[in-house]
């Protein structure tokens, strides 16, 4: 909600954000508009920057686990998961098999929850509040299940370095299966309501196009890239947790529509189909899940001590609902990581906005922005703001910075 715009003549610029009903999170867009058409887009993230990496470098891994939860409240599992994988590699922890399966189940529940959430938000951006209501109403089932499994509806605090903090006991299986049946019975209806609706078709077909080439060039990830026809999914490309033992394939929009256009509609298709895929994956996990421990080390002081001894660096990657989420950690025989870097999926995807938004109408801005399912919380890291204007760093300058940094790391 801003009204500081002074120039009123066409083409004029309107700022959207950092607080705006279309953006549930703070980010500032500046559009140059001619009539109703967007001529130029610029955006300035950094409005949610809390300095998480900086804080993490002053805390121990057990504390960081809960900090990663709160990088973002929507996909809490993914960040924790990626971070834990990085630490586990450095410390050399062998995660129990059962924990792998539980992590997978939770990650998939998270995906269900997150995609339904997105579907609702997308409907809301289209002014379709009934579907918004409907999507979130059915999402409550997954929230209930997550609450049952983890003890909270968001910020699950379930993944721990070395495994998971809670087992899924046998008696909960019935309840979970009930939930899965619920979604299985619903999925056709959801597909029908979202994809067969004439008005949604009108708004989303051929809107916010991202071509296959552009998707590759911009290094987009997750459903955004799959909707443009790129077959990329960390779960399949470099399997982790239990994914290597599960039977599934890339979800592509042509599975449903027979073609791939890379528009907003295709992104809806991919996400809704992934809900069905996740249900299936959870079923497989529950069938194959081995018995056993869920945590490598239950005593926290011991775990911390092990971490403190460790030295080395590693990268943890997982496929979050929005795409690849990557944590780089370097430990240097101390309580806290020497270096911790987070690359969230939106970070990879957000540049595609520029591509998608150009030439579209004002009315389509919200749905296009939403179509990559952005979440600024985990994306806002470095915000260089001088005199209110973001500085632009040249490629050379950035490279020199990274060279220097690498040297410093090597020399330490």
């Amino acid at each position: 909600m801003t009204s500081e715009n002074k120039s009123k003549k066409a083409p004029y610029t309107i700022p959207i954000g950092p607080t705006h009903p279309a953006l549930k999170e703070p980010i500032l867009f500046t559009f140059r508009i001619n009539g109703e058409v967007v001529e130029e887009v610029d955006f300035a993230p950094g409005k949610a920057h809390r300095g998480i990496e900086w804080m993490g470098m002053r805390r121990n891994p057990v504390q960081i686990v809960h900090l990663t939860d709160r990088i973002c409240g929507i996909c809490g599992v993914s960040h924790t998961f990626a971070f834990a994988r990085a630490i586990e590699q450095i410390v050399g922890i062998d995660v129990p098999d059962r924990a792998h399966y539980i992590r997978t189940i939770l990650a998939e529940f998270e995906r269900i929850q997150s995609h339904l959430l997105w579907a609702g938000v997308a409907a809301h951006e289209l002014g379709f509040d009934t579907l918004f209501n409907l999507a979130w109403r059915v999402r409550e089932e997954s929230m209930d299940l997550i609450e049952l499994l983890t003890g909270n509806r968001v910020n699950y605090a379930i993944v721990q370095v070395g495994g998971v903090r809670r087992d899924i006991e046998e008696e909960k299986f019935a309840r979970i299966k009930e939930g899965l049946r619920y979604y299985e019975s619903l999925i056709d209806k959801l597909l029908k309501l979202f994809l067969h609706d004439k008005t949604i078709n009108m708004r989303c077909r051929d809107c916010g196009l991202l071509t296959y080439d552009a998707a590759l060039k911009l290094c987009t990830v997750g459903p955004t890239t799959r909707a443009s026809g790129v077959r990329a999914d960390v779960r399949l490309d470099s399997p982790y947790a239990a994914y290597g033992e599960l039977n599934f394939d890339y979800v592509m929009p042509d599975l449903y529509t027979g073609e791939t256009r890379g528009d907003v509609y295709d992104r809806i298709v991919v996400r809704l189909l992934e809900v069905a895929q996740s249900v299936d994956l959870i079923r497989q996990c529950m069938k194959q899940m081995p018995e056993g421990e869920t945590l490598w080390e239950t005593k926290m002081p011991k775990l911390l001590a092990a971490c403190k001894k460790a030295e080395g660096e590693a990268v943890g990657r997982v496929e979050a609902p929005r795409g690849e989420c990557l944590h780089y950690v370097r430990m240097n025989k101390s309580d806290s990581p020497y270096m911790w870097k987070v690359k969230a999926s939106t970070y990879s995807n957000q540049l595609s906005w520029l591509e998608m938004l150009k030439g579209e109408q004002i009315a389509d801005i919200p749905i296009i922005v939403a179509s990559i399912d952005p979440c600024m919380s985990c994306t806002d890291r470095v915000a260089v703001v001088r005199d209110g204007k973001p500085d632009i760093y040249s490629k050379e300058y950035l490279h020199r910075l990274s060279v220097e940094k690498t040297r410093r790391l090597m020399n330490d």
Partner: protein, 134 residues
Amino acid sequence: MSLLPTMAEVLRQITKKPATNLFPAKYLPKSITGFLGKVSEGKAEINPPVITPENYRGKITYDRDACIGCKICMRVCPANAIEFIKETKTVRIYVTQCIFCSQCNDACPVQCLHMSSDFMLADEDRYSENLIVE
């Protein structure tokens, strides 16, 4: 491709019962204060919230007598919510600072910390008695 699938759906829905959980009452009572008074007198009833599962992580509880003052909980607490009271060798937990992760529960060697299922904690004062556990 059907034209407006939602239209049939909403028409069907209109005859069904709403999915709403009527917590705490169907509509706003005439006066909240009066209503709460009546509830405490047992004359009125609050529709319960959606039930919390077991192991739900609500407001923290603390068994002061069992605590040995080892500070392990403080070491793992990610939110700096636990304060050590030197005089009594016990801890004090600020609920407004706590992020309900229950990490301290896991870490405490004598299991004197627990998460209750109490989650309706709204308060006008962030340091009210209700929000400090010691």
